[in-house]
Amino acid sequence: MGSKKINNDVRNLNLDRVIHWILLAQLLSLLPLFQLVPIWIVAACLGVGFWRLAVNRYQLALPSRLITFCIGVLAAYLIYTTYGTLVSREAGVSLIVLMFSLKLLEMRQFRDAILILFLSYFLLVVNFLYYEHVLMVIYLFATVFVITLALVILNSSDISVGYKKLLSMAGTLFTLSIPVCVLLFIFFPRLAHPLWQMPGNSTGTTGFSETMSPGTISELFESDDIVFRVKIKSEEIKPDSSQLYWRGIVLSNYDGLTWRKSTTRAIGAPDIVRRSSPIEYSVILEPHNKKWLFSLDIPDYSNSYIVLYNDFSMESERNIRSVFSYQLKSYLDYRYGLNLNPIERQINLQLPNNFNPEMVRWSVSRRQTVNTDADFVQNILNYITQNQFFYTVTPPVYEENIVDDFWFGEKRGYCEHYSNAFVYIMRAAGIPARVVTGYSGGEYNPYGDYLIVRAKDAHAWTEIWLPNQGWIRVDPTAAIHPSRVEPMLAARMEQRTAMDRFVDGEDIDSYISDISSLRAIQLTLDAFNHAWNEWFLGFDQDKQMQLFELMGFDFLSPRDLLPWMITLLIILVAAIGLVILRQKDNGDPLARALMRLSKKLSHKGLAWSKHEAPLTFFERLKTHYPQYKADITDIQRRYSSLRYQESRASQNMPLLVKKINTLKSNL
């Protein structure tokens, strides 16, 4: 046989046993990415896989390198035509997936197989850029195990080794690596602030819109999707439900149907005057593919990756395509924008011509009936309460003069209609006003001590400007008489008041006992998901320092981390290494039984020498113990058949071991 040079790694590749494992490892690492690529690529990858299997099974020839290269170029071209480019994120993923599959056609030698397995590991990282849900992560780490197992099998492919042994070896290696992995995870330095967001795979949105028109918010009521979670840090300050307004976008521009952002929106928040102590909290935002961030009215915080505008809306620098966590400070009690410049004023008074004439008249004349603007506001709110205004998720569709038809006609509407009408009334009366959209309320999860805000909590309210008070929030829907609130919406309000009880300091147990068991399960699961997001996915320098404090290692500062990590790593690896080296191989019960027999005989000088063939050993025994000749012959025979036909070991081995032990005790 030829010489196999390990050093020059041209080992023969005996694929028969191992090809299935290699293909499996590769497939598992590609599978999640299949969801992100066009179907023809998936088909192509599977096709290549079967092709390679056939090559191995039927001893076919692999295509030459030239042909494989041409296939690769063709693939790249097809991807280019699909996406129009090769450098976008989607095209990149498709390219990686297809090229990796094609590598199978080049798998001739040992080193090609190794490369495929290494690339499988690498593909997992690519997966992690897109997926972060717990179950997916479990799947991906299971794949790590399979790849490792394939690697072990490949490295023993020169000569066959039982699967059980290989499996246990891969398993032990994997398990013992976990503590070291944990150590590195805790100590490896993280940045204080992330550079930018991961690509993420979010193609979904939360339905939140940048504009408002009738229906844009009410259609979200169906959705239970979680938009974000909030963890309140401040101990002393807890907002009650009337203060839970999550600011999203401020809309000043109305064309008769749709509200849009103001053109004067610019970066740089105005000064906040007269404020209470801030409440500190962190928001963990689910990916929604846009840049909006939500904050509690009124936020006062910004850092390098958050942009704060002059209307106190916030955006991130990049689209949010994966779970994004940010810390904020807000003032629940505030004054801002006391000086309203004329342009702003103008914009926020503007009404489109030729729309809702009745409203304009009504508003102007009603304004005359009160003294101050503030009184007028209260007047309108009272009007809502006292008249037959209904709050419903399924309002009628209003045509053209939306405000008139709503206010003077049906009087049935959702928050869009009320805000729309209210701002209209204010503007007509000469009070600058604008719409704010975002979310309101939230569900408290006692299992995790945080608030859950869902798509259904989407809300629209208003801000009006009063002299000496600046911009003030007014939520016209709060003025609707409770009896005229639709049952579904009433339930939501009920939920909030329940939360208020808790916020006021009432027993958490009674709060929990009010939760149905199904809900409790859901909430517990969500709490777990939240902890996952916050502590694992969101493990940054802050969390790191918090963890060290909790463990009692306050003395560690970020600069200390690297030397400590290296030191502890060396110690831990050495310790585990020692365990590995000392570990007695349990191995073969048969070997152990024979060793015991040999040991007993060593006193009589009959012990087995290492290089002696077992059968010779038995022969020797027979000459010394002729009285046991029959037994020994039986053992000898069984041993031969066992050792050379290993397949029935599981049945025959225990019996043989027993016989040996019996012999041992007899001797």
């Binding site: 050093n7 000569i159 013992l176 992995c181």
Partner: protein
């Protein structure tokens, strides 16, 4: 020709003798890990971090597994049969395990692996190391290369075993064209052998049942009939193979001729003796005698280091 050089003593691989270092794949893996680490840091992606750390850990711990896989083996060389020049000397290397299993252990020379084997506590493995015997005399297997990179294939653990095994190489038998022999008279008989030597004394007609090996094919090929060679029975006449009988000056060629004759004589179960400068071997027959003659031929004017 059955006695062989006795087996060398066993050598156990202990920690001291073994080295471990990353191989190509180990370095490739390291590069891969660095890329992954940079990517993870770039995106501050904790999942990517976890994966990278897990792989780093497995890589580091595999050092110990790889090391453990090799240490504790015992190696020795089994009995080595002598060969002729231009054959391969075969050294049966036997690996045995004390009390644990060793997988994918590579055995070879000079850093090249000849074969892989598994060594289990009750199943020792034999790997045949072949070395071409281009010269007569003694071929030595001095250092054996034992290696393994099991289980992950990223680290190569190896050791050099000073085996000191030897294989005797007899000269290549070459049929002499012209040969003059002298007989030592057993004066009693005094019958002569024909010149040209030992082939056969006469032929007779073929009778069915004669061995195919003894048929005179040349005559048959010329269409002259089927005849069977008849060999003279050992008459008790002894044959003597003399160094001086050969006219060539090439020592190696002489030895090759003598070897051929020894083998032929042995095959015919004749009694024969041999004389070389400084060495006289009285006529005798049998395996042991032949072995001794061949050994003398092999070691003629070679280092006198023999362990017979």
């Amino acid at each position: 020709m059955s006695r062989r050089t006795p087996a060398s003593s066993s050598i156990t691989l202990v920690h001291r003798n073994s080295y471990i270092f990353p191989n190509h794949y180990g370095f490739l893996f390291l590069v891969l890990l660095l890329i992954m680490l940079v990517g993870a840091t770039n995106y501050q992606n904790n999942l990517a971090f976890t994966l990278t750390f897990l792989l780093i850990s497995m890589g580091l711990l595999s050092i110990f597994y790889t090391f453990k896989n090799l240490v504790g083996l015992t190696v020795k060389c089994g009995a080595v049969s002598p060969v002729f020049v231009d054959d391969d000397a075969i050294f049966p290397v036997i690996l045995a395990a004390e009390n644990k299993e060793h997988f994918s252990v590579g055995v070879g020379l000079q850093g090249n692996v000849v074969d892989f084997c598994n060594v289990l506590p009750l199943k020792h493995a034999t790997v045949s190391i072949r070395m071409p015997a281009s010269q007569r005399g003694v071929i030595k297997l001095e250092r054996l290369y034992i290696t393994s990179s099991f289980p992950l294939g990223m680290f190569r653990c190896w050791t050099w075993i000073p085996l000191q095994a030897e294989c005797l190489v007899y000269p290549k038998p070459i049929e002499p064209e012209f040969y003059q022999s002298q007989l030592i008279g057993n004066d009693e008989n005094g019958s002569l052998e024909k010149e040209g030597g030992l082939d056969f004394s006469h032929i007779r007609n073929y009778s069915p049942g004669d061995s195919m090996r003894h048929i005179e094919w040349k005559t048959f090929a010329k269409d002259r009939g089927l005849y069977t060679k008849q060999f003279s029975e050992p008459t008790g006449d002894d044959m003597m193979i003399h160094w001086q009988d050969f006219t060539t000056h090439d020592i190696e060629l002489k030895l090759s001729y003598m070897c051929f004759l020894v083998l032929a004589a042995d095959k015919q179960q004749k009694k024969y003796g041999m004389s070389l400068p400084g060495i006289e071997i009285a006529p005798a027959s049998g395996d042991e005698h032949t072995r001794q003659c061949l050994q003398k031929l092999a070691l003629f004017q070679r280092q006198p280091k023999t362990r017979v």
